[in-house]
Structures are given as structure tokens and as C-alpha cells.
Symmetry: C2
Subunit: 410 residues, 2 copies
């Protein structure tokens, strides 16, 4: 018997049938004596439909109103799931963000949760009611509706689990866990039975779509045990743990990638202080998000400065730098929007030398040229031409023997 | 310069183009110095879509959850209208029911408004913001979302107008006013420049779809000047007034009809006290709404008892009365679900004898048999076979010369 918060994403509540399947799944937990709080997203496609509707009305839709608009999606699913539960004899009760006081700041479209009032939820649980809470949304101090941005429902679930001191927060989705690499690319990719928060955070930030980094961060901060599992099939999923309890940590846990990348190089820039800020200043103010930054200085007193941006921002960033190039007297400005980033992640990396060597050897053996390298304590990211992406992921997966059978949890 | 509450129905906000047309219309009022509060319904078809979705999930959907579900429709339109206004340089701000504290009782699906907090609305108006309020919904004392039932957005608009002491409440819709009869049936039906609350209430209750009776009742009670007008075309519409200020009141103002009728007759019932309640008791408890009731007693001590119900309830009502017939020893139980009700309404009726005669003569001249008659101070309703409906409406319209040109308001 445990107190569990379960979050069901858009695909899991994407049709009447699937909503009934969710109710059925919740009922199984209740039958074994668990208490469950359900958090749901909008039905798949609905949030995008609403965003499109907003954009078709206004080229620059008000942020406040976009939040009111998109929050309507979750309102529909909480009602439907509560009905489906009640049909099975388990009284369900829907809650909008303001009804359980999911307080956020006023950053419309990307609000951050500051507090949750658990009084109603606890009263419901005590009287056998299953609260069904709208994910993705909140309410600010002035009573304005806010939304939490992409992955917001995961964050809602984790925040509720933290506030309730739940035993576990289950992120129920259309995959059965977190894999060592994308199974669509790597045939022998393996579901991890567990992964540490640090690793999951890197994997999530680096393009693994299973969990949103903010929810992982939140879960780590409040020490909420988080589990990624399938809404549709039984199975243990992947547990995201504080610390790995395996005797020997694998050097590399998983591989993430992102296609959504472009790089820009300003070459032959006089190497004087302040160059980086002259180049990145206008980009940051745009605002365009910059990911990797690499600077190499040659013997001639000139430096090459390269950074990556999201592919959508590429044209705009390149255009802005035209003026900067002239200003700085840089020799050349060029870019490439057909690149991809591949990252290997693992807490074991800290204590093992030679990870980089093994990685570079594997790529060299396949004649894949590495365009950029960036490292952190538990990850190494490389940029390669997009056409090599799949090959790179596969050969790295092999090099670190990630496909080998892991001892299954008891 | 005036303070005006404008309500736009589902057809008026049924597409992106129409939402822009609404914003354009509001902007014209603002340009001449008026202050405007906008109340909107869900986009046409949306409420039905949500109701269907709820029914497809549950055969007996929870009333509380149906309200949460359907209220999502208005949430979408308030955001879109606020955006469209802001695009025209008139800052719009959307409000859900709970954000302006539209308090109701807890009768889900047919809640009644008890209070509205005007503080935010007044503050917005003072600073040049156009509040855009979700119609149809409210919040009860426990913070549960409620809905007001059919015609609910009209009621919201009237209630807000009453709370603000607005100069006028405009019901903007897809027709340009209230007509002497349905223009689809009567060629020379004429838009009334004004009509009294009493008349409008009868016309609304009797099947004229333009305004919901509850909103008319509400407007009458709080003396809110109400105007029905087109969202799409300019024009004065129809003003619903406290008292007619015309020197001579027309005997009959308008004609309403309803096809949605069925009658049931229990014949040859022993005429003893309590028979009516024995017959209508089970019907009322079902609950099935009963409209007209007629009882005729013959010389033989037996009575015929006839009443009308909505056509949807016909089969069920007939079935329930089988047992009652046996119990009462009534000679016959029969019914007809191919009937229609036609009503003539007019405050002038009070002071004019002969209205009934003129009505009956007109029908007799067309050989239309009257099956039931019911009268009130300002209306006469008759039941005829459904196939005579159009003919009856037309000949009555002619008989009272309703098509004659009315002196147009200045």
C-alpha cells in the first residue's frame, strides 16, 4: 500500500478507449490498496490545435491569453478521466490548477510552480476519492491562469508528489522506460532498470524525449522517486534514483542525440578581450538560445569562434552576425544547419579515464569526422554531420557495450 | 458614451474571421467613447462536441464533470477574442467565471447566479481594458465549476450588466432582432423595434429561439435594458423595454411556435378528487416536464385528462401511465407526438376583447382543427396537428395584421 502520483501524457489519454484504459490501470492500483492521485495532459494533438487557433487569430498572441487558451485542453481530460473512474465505482474528482492552488510565478507560457495546497487532495484520498488534476497549468498570485510550458504535466505530477510526500511518481507514457539509446536507431538498445537523476537530467536535456528536464530537476531537488513506465503494458519501467545502488556503475549509461542543431562560425577574428560578448551579445538579446561554444586561437593572433543554436534560429542568427562581422573585421562568417549532436552520459565517467578515447576511436573507425566537442562531468557531446547521426549512435552504443544484457531487477 | 455589456453567441464567434469581426464591432463602440464588457459563448458546435465526448466516455456522466468539460468551450473563445481586441490596440483581458467570482448555487448543469464581483471589471474599464468574460459558467461556494444550462451565456451577460449597472445589455446574434413570427415561415414577418419584457418572456418561453427565457426574466427583475441585435450587420435590433412607450399598444406583438411537443390523453377517468395528481405525480417525479394541462368533465361523471410533454419524453411518459390507467380504471390511454403549439403574445390583449375570437376565426377559415387551448393574461396558446403548423402561423400573422409596416424608431 502506497501513495502514488501517476501522470498520463497526451497519447495515453488520446481517445475514449485510452481514457478507459487509464481508468482501468488506476483501478488496479486501488484494488491492491494504493492511494492514487492522477495528473493528465491534454488529449494528443489538442494543445497544438489550440496553439494554432491562437496563432491564426493573432500574429503576436498575448502570452496571458495563450495560457488561458491552451489550458482548456487539460480541462477536458480531467473531466473525462474522472467520469471513467466513477463508472468503475471509484469516485473521481477533477481539479483545475486553481482549485488545488497550484501557485506559480507570472511567467506566462513557462511559469514555475511555487506552492501547492494539499488540503483538498488529502481530504479526497482519506475519503476514497481519486483526485484527477490538470497538468501543465497553474495560477499566479493575481489569479491569472498560467501554463508551465513543454513537459509541464510531468512537472505538475512531480510537484504534487513532492507536496504530498508520495511514495512514488509514475510518469506513464507510450514507451516502457528509458533506453540506452533510441530503439528506432539502435536495434539492441536496452531499457535501463534504473538511472540516476544526474544521468536522467543530462539525457533529458540532450534530446531524449521521455521526460522533460525540468521535471527531473524538480524530482531530484525534492527527492521524489520517479519512474517512467508504459500506460499500455505492465512492466517495471525505469526508476530514476538518487544514487545508483549497483555495485559497479556502468561507465556510460545511455546515449542521447538531437537533430535540431545548427552551427555558426566566425573565423579570423582578432583575439582581443570582449570578442565573445560582441558576437554572442546580440544573439542572447534576440533572444536566441546558444548551446555549445568553442573557441580556438591560432598563432597568428586570430581566433575562430563557433557556437550552436536551434535549427529554427539559424537563419536569423546568421543574419544578425553580418553586421558584427564587419564591425569586428572578421575574415569569414559561415554556418551549417545540417549537423546533429550526440552525447554519451554516465555517472561512471567520473571515475574512469579513457571514455573520450574510446568514443573518438569508435567514430574514427567509422570515418566519422567530429566537428565540435564539449564535455561536462558526466557527459561528452560531439557534433557530427547530420547524415552520420544514426551510424554514430550505433557505433558508440556498441563501443560501450550498452546492448549487453543487464541484470534485471528482482 | 455609455457602459455596454455585449454578448456574442456561438455563431458570432464560430470562426477566426468571425472572432475578428466581433473585435472590429467592439472597437467601433470604443471609438465613439463607450465602455464595453464582452461576454462570449463557445464556438458554434463546440459545446455539443464536448457533451458528446463526455457521453462517449460514460453512459451516466457525472454532472460535476460534465460542467468542467463543457466549460472548456468558453475558455477558448475568451482568449481568442481578447487576442483579437489587443491586435486592434484595445487591450483585452479574458476572465473565467471564478476570476470575476460569478457565484452560483451547486446545481450542476443548471446553476443559478447568486452574485458577481465587479471589482476587477470596474478596474479594467477604468484603465481602458476590455474585459472578455466566459459566459455559461460559474463557480459555487466550494470552488466547483458550474454551468448555467442552455442560454446560459445570455444570463451571464444580463447578470453582469445588472451588477455593473450597465446602460444596456446587447445580445448580439445571427438575427437582427425579434420578429413578429419566424421569417422562415412567414414572408412578411417584421422585426419589432421594441417589445415588453412580459411579451419577450412569453415569446422566449414559447419557442422563439432568439433569447433564453431565464435571461429575459433576469433582465426584467433587475431592470436591465436588453437589446437583441445582429453581430454581423448594423441596425437598431429589438429593444426589450420595461413598458411600451407607444401610444397605442398592438393587441398582438408576435407569434411563437414549438414543434417539440406531444400530447397524452387519459380518457374516461372517474372524476374524483386527486385524479390529476395520480396521473401527473409519477410524470413529475420522473422528472418529465409538463406544459399544457386540460381537463374536461362530461355529464357521465367521467373526465378526460390531456397534457403535453416534450416530444423526447413522449414514449417514456406513455409507458409510465400504463400502470396508472389500470389503477384508475380509465377507459382509454392515447397520445399523439405529431402536434405543434402556436402562441400569440401581446400586452395589448389585456385590454382588448375578441382576440380569441379573431384567432379562432382565422384558423377555422383555413379548416385547421384546434386540439387544445390554454390562455394567460398576455398570450393564447393552441395545439394543432404538426402538418398545419406553418399554415396556422401564417394565417394568424395575417389576421392580426402583423406584417403591416410599423412606424420605425427615430
Amino acid at each position: 500500500m502506497a501513495l502514488i502520483v501517476q501522470k498520463y501524457g497526451g497519447t495515453s489519454v488520446g481517445s475514449v478507449e485510452r481514457i478507459h484504459a487509464v481508468a482501468e490501470r488506476v483501478a488496479r492500483y486501488l484494488a491492491r490498496g494504493d492511494q492514487v492521485v492522477v495528473v493528465v495532459s491534454a488529449m494528443s494533438g489538442e494543445t497544438n490545435r489550440l496553439v494554432e487557433l491562437g496563432r491564426s487569430v493573432s500574429a503576436r498572441p498575448l502570452a496571458r491569453e495563450m495560457d488561458v487558451l491552451t489550458a482548456a485542453g487539460e480541462q477536458v481530460t480531467i473531466a473525462l478521466v474522472a467520469m471513467a473512474l466513477s463508472d468503475r465505482g471509484h469516485p473521481g474528482k477533477s481539479y483545475l490548477a486553481d482549485q488545488v492552488a497550484i501557485r506559480t510565478d507570472s511567467s506566462f507560457g513557462k511559469a514555475r510552480i511555487s506552492a501547492i495546497d494539499t488540503e483538498r487532495l488529502l481530504a479526497d484520498l482519506a475519503s476514497g476519492i481519486v483526485p484527477v488534476v490538470a497538468g501543465f497549468q497553474g495560477v499566479d498570485d493575481d489569479g491569472n491562469l498560467t501554463t508551465l510550458g513543454r513537459g509541464g504535466s510531468d512537472t505538475t505530477a512531480v510537484a504534487i508528489a513532492a507536496a504530498l510526500g508520495a511514495d512514488e511518481c509514475e510518469i506513464c507514457t507510450d514507451v516502457d522506460g528509458v533506453y540506452t539509446a533510441d530503439p528506432r536507431i539502435v536495434d539492441d538498445a536496452r531499457r535501463m532498470s534504473q538511472v540516476t537523476f544526474e544521468e536522467m537530467l543530462e539525457l533529458a536535456s540532450l534530446g531524449s524525449k521521455v521526460l522533460h528536464p525540468r521535471s527531473v530537476e524538480f524530482a531530484g531537488k525534492y527527492r521524489v522517486p520517479l519512474r517512467v513506465m508504459s500506460s499500455f503494458e505492465d512492466g517495471p519501467g525505469t526508476l530514476i534514483t538518487m544514487e545508483s545502488n549497483e555495485m559497479e556503475q556502468p561507465i556510460v549509461s545511455g546515449i542521447a542525440y538531437s537533430r535540431d542543431e545548427a552551427k555558426i562560425t566566425m573565423a579570423g577574428v582578432p583575439d582581443v578581450p570582449g570578442v565573445a560578448s560582441r558576437i554572442l551579445g546580440p544573439i542572447g538579446r534576440a533572444p536566441i538560445e546558444v548551446d555549445m561554444i568553442v573557441q580556438n586561437t591560432g598563432a597568428d593572433g586570430l581566433t575562430d569562434f563557433t557556437f550552436t543554436v536551434k535549427r529554427d534560429d539559424y537563419e536569423r542568427a546568421l543574419e544578425m552576425l553580418g553586421a558584427v562581422q564587419t564591425e569586428l573585421g572578421a575574415r569569414d562568417l559561415s554556418g551549417d544547419n545540417r549537423i546533429a549532436k550526440v552525447s554519451v552520459v554516465g555517472v561512471g565517467m567520473r571515475s574512469h579515464a579513457g571514455v573520450a578515447t574510446r568514443l573518438f576511436d569508435a567514430l574514427a573507425a567509422e570515418n566519422i569526422n567530429i566537428q565540435m566537442i564539449s564535455t561536462s562531468e558526466i557527459k561528452i557531446s560531439i557534433v557530427v554531420a547530420e547524415r552520420y547521426l544514426e551510424l554514430a549512435v550505433r557505433c558508440i552504443h556498441d563501443a560501450f557495450e550498452l546492448g549487453a544484457v543487464e541484470a534485471e531487477e528482482e
